[in-house]
């Protein structure tokens, strides 16, 4: 198996604060990686470095075996390669960030029309398909304001999918949702995983990590502290840090009836 996305020794700092201190991850095609870590561990920054919302300070990435940057130091990437990279990497945000002046359908049609140059008819058909895929048939003509948080996030997922990305990044996609709406978004994400989408997911949903992830990565202070199968490391964490992190979730879980 070859890695569809290779993250090689990524460094990032904001001022004096070094947020990522050298991260290496190989993401196989179809693999689902869940990144855990407390706030400030650098997990969001890692995602944002992958699609270059933040420019890495050191290291590089490879997508489909190719480096998008020029290879020079300091890190440099041409505008052309930057746009090409972002077409291949979809991102779902904590705050949805739907375009409020467009209907659900128009939100999903926008990038295929503007970036891929599809005709209105082609883009409409594509968008209808993706909205159906996330369970939103019949909501096509509604504006984001009229949709629930969970529905908005599903439109955002459809909007990303419409660009046929090679990798999808989820940046705390359910963190700003009411508890009863989290499930519908997680279900869509699980279905995507089952359909073979390559995903890197930053989340606090340990249950999702346990049941969907192929691999879990625990980030602490800008470094990978633990990495492994969810059934191993979520049950038997090796480090105290990870143990501590997980204990908070265990403390408030409902014990299974025997």
């Amino acid at each position: 198996m070859t890695a569809i996305l290779k993250i090689v020794d990524i460094h990032k700092h904001f001022g004096d604060n070094e947020v990522l201190k050298g991260i290496d991850i190989d993401v196989e095609e179809g693999e689902v990686i869940v990144v855990l870590g407390s706030s400030g561990s650098g997990k969001s920054t890692l995602l944002r470095c992958i699609n270059h919302m933040e420019m890495p300070d050191g290291g590089h990435i490879k997508i489909e075996g190719k480096r998008p940057d020029t290879g020079q130091t300091p890190y440099k990437i041409t505008e052309r390669n930057l746009l090409a990279l972002r077409r291949k990497v979809g991102m779902v945000f904590q705050q949805f960030n739907l375009f409020p002046h467009m209907t659900a359908l128009e939100n999903v049609m926008e990038a295929p029309r503007q970036v891929l140059g599809l005709s209105a008819t082609e883009a409409r058909e594509l968008a209808m398909g993706h909205l159906a895929r996330v369970g939103l048939e019949g909501r096509e003509d509604m504006y984001p304001m009229r949709l629930s948080g969970g529905q908005q996030q599903r439109v955002a997922i459809a909007r990303s999918l419409a660009m046929s990305p090679k990798v999808m990044l989820f940046d705390e996609a359910t963190s700003s949702l009411d508890p009863e709406l989290v499930g519908e978004v997680l279900k869509v994400m699980r279905k995507l995983a089952e359909d073979g989408m390559t995903m890197v997911v930053v989340t606090h949903e340990i249950g999702f990590a346990y049941s969907v992830a192929d691999r879990v990565i625990f980030l602490h202070e800008g470094r990978i502290l633990e990495e492994g199968k969810p059934t191993d490391i979520l049950v038997n964490p090796l480090t105290d840090r990870f143990q501590q992190f997980l204990s908070v979730f265990k403390e408030f879980s409902i014990p299974e009836s025997s």
């Binding site: 991102m91 945000f93 409020p100 926008e110």
Partner: protein, 218 residues
């Protein structure tokens, strides 16, 4: 007790009608140019690139911090000396009003663009959209809706400022009224009539603007 006599004005509507046409021509020209120029300069003000930001900032500060009347005099009397040919009163007045309007519009554009949440930029960028497309398709359509009340207020201010062009002998409403009053010795009626014409045109506009402000709050 002074006896008002509007008979001459009513019998000779051509005076004020000609003035109104000139006022509207000057207004239309300076508003159109001012808005278009304002968008370009506003983009410059928004830009982080120095070579775009600096000239835009100088332009805005220059025209916001000098009186329009001085600008108009300068374009009409001073600029021709520098460039070697004279400008018509219409051209000079349009330049001054458009420059002033553009400086104000630029600040409205900049503030409007800045008011859009950065998540909109990130979402569009993550879809592979270029800067120009994001601005045109995502940011400006949202920003312009928020700018409507501010623009409407400036547009009404600009309409009133057109009367300054009378000082450089552009034959707009106020100039016609002065002409009439010096010929007919009826300053009270002449200038009252000008005020009435401005009011009749602008009052409905301010009402419409007030409606916009209510709508924009939704």
């Amino acid at each position: 007790m002074y006896e008002f006599d509007f008979q001459f004005i009513l019998d000779n509507p051509g005076f004020l009608w000609a003035g109104l046409k000139h006022t509207l021509a000057l207004y239309a020209a300076s508003l159109t140019i001012g808005l278009a120029l304002g968008l370009v300069i506003g983009m410059g003000r928004y830009s982080t690139r120095k070579w775009l930001n600096w000239p835009a900032t100088i332009w805005v500060e220059l025209f916001r911090n000098t009186p329009v009347l001085v600008q108009m005099m300068w374009f009409f009397f001073a600029l021709p000396v520098l460039i070697g040919f004279s400008l018509t009163a219409f051209t000079a007045a349009t330049m001054a009003l458009a420059a002033n309007a553009s400086a104000n519009a630029a600040e409205i554009f900049r503030a409007g663009i800045q008011s859009i949440h950065k998540g909109q930029w990130e979402a569009s960028r993550s879809l592979g959209m270029s800067y120009g497309r994001i601005m045109r398709r995502i940011i400006l359509p949202q920003a312009i809706r928020r700018m409507v009340p501010a623009f409407s207020n400036r547009a009404i201010e600009l309409a009133k400022m057109t009367s300054l062009a009378s000082t450089i002998s552009y034959a707009e409403l106020l100039y016609e009224a002065r002409l009439m009053s010096s010929m007919q010795f009826n300053p009270i009626e002449a200038f009252t009539a000008v005020a009435v014409v401005f009011f009749v045109v602008l009052y409905p506009l301010t009402r419409i603007v007030a409606r916009f402000e209510v709508d924009a709050r939704i």
